[in-house]
């Protein structure tokens, strides 16, 4: 009733092409952005920024990076964390070695380095498909962190390979407070999400989905498979690299290569599977699930009578419940949280009528 498209006609192709064709959607998005950028910094506390909002946003961005490659272009990868590490360490070195380089530029350059590496490890995708391709990206996952530990130059010869965040300044404003780091992350994530939305709706996005759905037919209608695949690896690497920089500098502050291990790659993969492959919104839903659900579970366990579960086993019990829930959930809705949201919207359009 309130969420209806009645009376909203697209009279030009440009109007039909808008990301949100319905007035209500545009209004809701604007409201959400104003709330996230204007109201949350006023009402949030440090715990919320540090433990929930910043990791949620960074993981959403990482999921987005992997989703471009896996969800849209159909190329499997288990190297997400490696490209995050590459982006973080590259951005750190650009900051360290180039005097006065603006923070955002070094993030971008870090992203480009990760993109380049991603293309290199994506080269086998021109020959192999599916699960075999995982091996190549798995090689990146082991090689890149190893190189970062092995050669001290990357961490400026820190004894334990740890890098620390440079001063977080953007155009003179100091963003090293929790609120500042939240706003920095939010700004980068919103801008890159807008860019990703444009890309997946453009010719390139269509070419990626064509390669994903039926690569022979894609080649036959003139799509260059190598170009589509390598651009997917490049853009995915770019997004993951920037997510890595944010993870290292806006979230943790200090990070070592082991912070970007295989389990981080799996975490990013779970985000896109739970959220929904081939959906941008899904990354945010999946990341929210991954970040919030363990917190929710540990609070729930806290309500149980003390002594019921041994404190040492608590974490394992949590993991088991979490794993079981993921399985149950994927059986119910293999297309992820984004699909549930889609169904809900379709229903809201008709409400209160049933058909």
């Amino acid at each position: 009733m309130f969420y209806t498209e009645a009376g909203q006609f697209s009279t030009r192709y440009a109007a039909d092409r808008r990301v949100f064709r319905l007035r209500q959607d545009r209004f809701a998005l604007a409201l959400l952005l104003v709330f996230a950028a204007g109201v949350v910094p006023l009402i949030g506390n440090d715990y919320w920024f540090n433990a929930i909002l910043i990791p949620f946003l960074v993981l959403s961005l990482a999921g987005l990076g992997l989703n471009l490659l896996t969800g849209y272009a159909g190329q499997l990868s288990l190297g997400s964390a490696a490209f995050m590490a590459a982006g973080a360490f590259a951005a750190y070195n650009f900051q360290l070695r180039i005097e006065g380089l603006p923070l955002l530029i070094s993030f971008g350059l870090g992203g480009l380095v990760a993109a380049l590496l991603s293309v290199v490890f994506g080269l086998p995708s021109l020959r192999i498909k599916g699960f075999y391709l995982i091996v190549s990206t798995l090689a990146a996952q082991f090689l890149i962190p190893w190189v970062l530990v092995k050669y001290g130059w990357f961490s400026n010869h820190n004894a334990s390979g740890v890098i620390s965040a440079p001063p977080l300044q953007v155009i003179g404003a100091d963003l090293s407070t929790p609120v500042g780091r939240y706003l920095l992350t939010l700004g980068v994530v919103v801008a890159l999400t807008w860019l990703a939305k444009n890309i997946v709706r453009s010719e390139l996005g269509r070419n990626w989905m064509a390669v994903r759905d039926m690569d022979t037919a894609a080649a036959v209608i003139g799509i260059s498979l190598p170009k589509a695949k390598l651009l997917a690896f490049a853009l995915s690497g770019f997004y993951l690299g920037i997510a890595g920089s944010l993870w290292a500098f806006a979230y943790l502050g200090t990070v070592e290569p082991h912070g970007f291990d295989l389990s981080r790659s799996f975490q990013v993969l779970f985000i896109i599977i739970i959220g929904g492959l081939g959906s941008l919104l899904g990354n945010f839903l999946g990341a929210a699930f991954i970040v919030l659900f363990p917190l929710f579970l540990s609070n729930l366990v806290g309500l149980l009578p003390p002594g019921l579960i041994d404190a040492g086993q608590l974490e394992n019990v949590q993991k088991m419940i979490f794993g079981a829930l993921i399985i149950a959930f994927l059986i119910r809705e293999p297309e992820g949280l984004a699909r549930i949201w889609q169904k809900f919207r379709a229903r809201a359009r008709r409400w209160p009528l049933r058909y």
């Binding site: 010719e203 759905d213 080649a219 036959v220 209608i221 003139g222």
Partner: protein, 260 residues
């Protein structure tokens, strides 16, 4: 007419193709004139689909050459064939199932774009205007094949007959000189076949597109095509106007069998 504008659009010269020693196609030559509808017929396993795959570069012929629009070549990549103006549909529908009908048709026009992906991602330069033009052309094709009601439907959810039509729309959207149709009417009932034949004839007349198609229904083939090529066991056994071919004893033998 100049020599490059000769009346022959496509000609195959002694093409042979084998898979690990098994001959799929042997020593086949035939020519397709500009603007005609040419049917490739023959029993299952005669090499018809293999021949289409050779024409648009999915397979590489071991011997012989293919000449298309004045250019002779032995090997061709599918992408190059598309750039030269060859579009096709597949026997087992090869649509992009996770995309809408409109997106599938737009994908068929991917070679008609000039703006780079960066322009499109940032929505600067030629991107917006070009999007309008592409959409308009795609809508013309959608209208031509009467699939407007399903424009925003995911093709995976459409019934078989419509999927066949969407696949034809995607091929047609590329504005090809040569359209290769691999069993466009397979699995259809009589009225669907009539409808599809109508579309093929309309495409041929209105756009002047040359069509090479594979079809099993002899009635449809005879009514539709200007020229019929008959294959059996990878060899060409007849080539000519439908009426001639129908009377050819070898063709009758291949289709109905003979008393040995």
């Amino acid at each position: 007419m100049t020599s490059s504008q000769s009346s022959t659009l496509l000609s195959l010269d002694r093409v042979s193709l084998s898979f690990k020693g098994v001959k799929a196609v042997s020593n086949i030559s035939f020519a397709v004139a500009r603007g005609e509808i040419c049917a490739l017929i023959g029993p299952n396993g005669a090499g018809k689909s293999s021949l289409l795959n050779v024409i648009n570069g999915v397979y590489r012929a071991q011997e012989g050459s293919v000449s298309f629009d004045g250019e002779i070549r032995r090997h061709m990549r599918p992408q190059h064939a598309a750039e030269r103006g060859i579009a096709r549909t597949f026997q087992n529908i090869a649509l992009f199932k996770g995309m809408t009908v409109l997106d599938n048709v737009l994908t068929g026009r991917n070679l008609k774009r000039r703006s780079t992906w960066i322009e499109q991602a940032l929505r600067i330069g030629r991107a917006n205007h070009e999007d309008d033009v592409q959409r308009e052309r795609a809508e013309k094709v959608i209208e031509f094949l009467r699939i407007q009601p399903w424009r925003d439907t995911l093709v995976g959810k459409l019934p078989y007959g419509l999927q066949k039509r969407v696949e034809l729309a995607r091929a047609l959207a590329a504005e090809p000189k040569l359209l290769l149709l691999d069993e466009p009417m397979a699995g259809m009932n009589a009225s669907e076949k009539t409808e599809m034949s109508g579309f093929i004839v309309d495409i041929n007349r209105e756009y002047g597109t040359t069509v090479v198609l594979i079809e099993h229904d002899i009635g449809v083939v005879m009514g539709l095509s200007d020229h019929v090529v008959v294959l059996d066991y990878g060899r060409k056994i007849a080539d000519g106007a439908p009426e001639e071919v129908r009377r050819n004893p070898e063709v009758i033998a291949a289709y109905l069998g003979t008393r040995h």
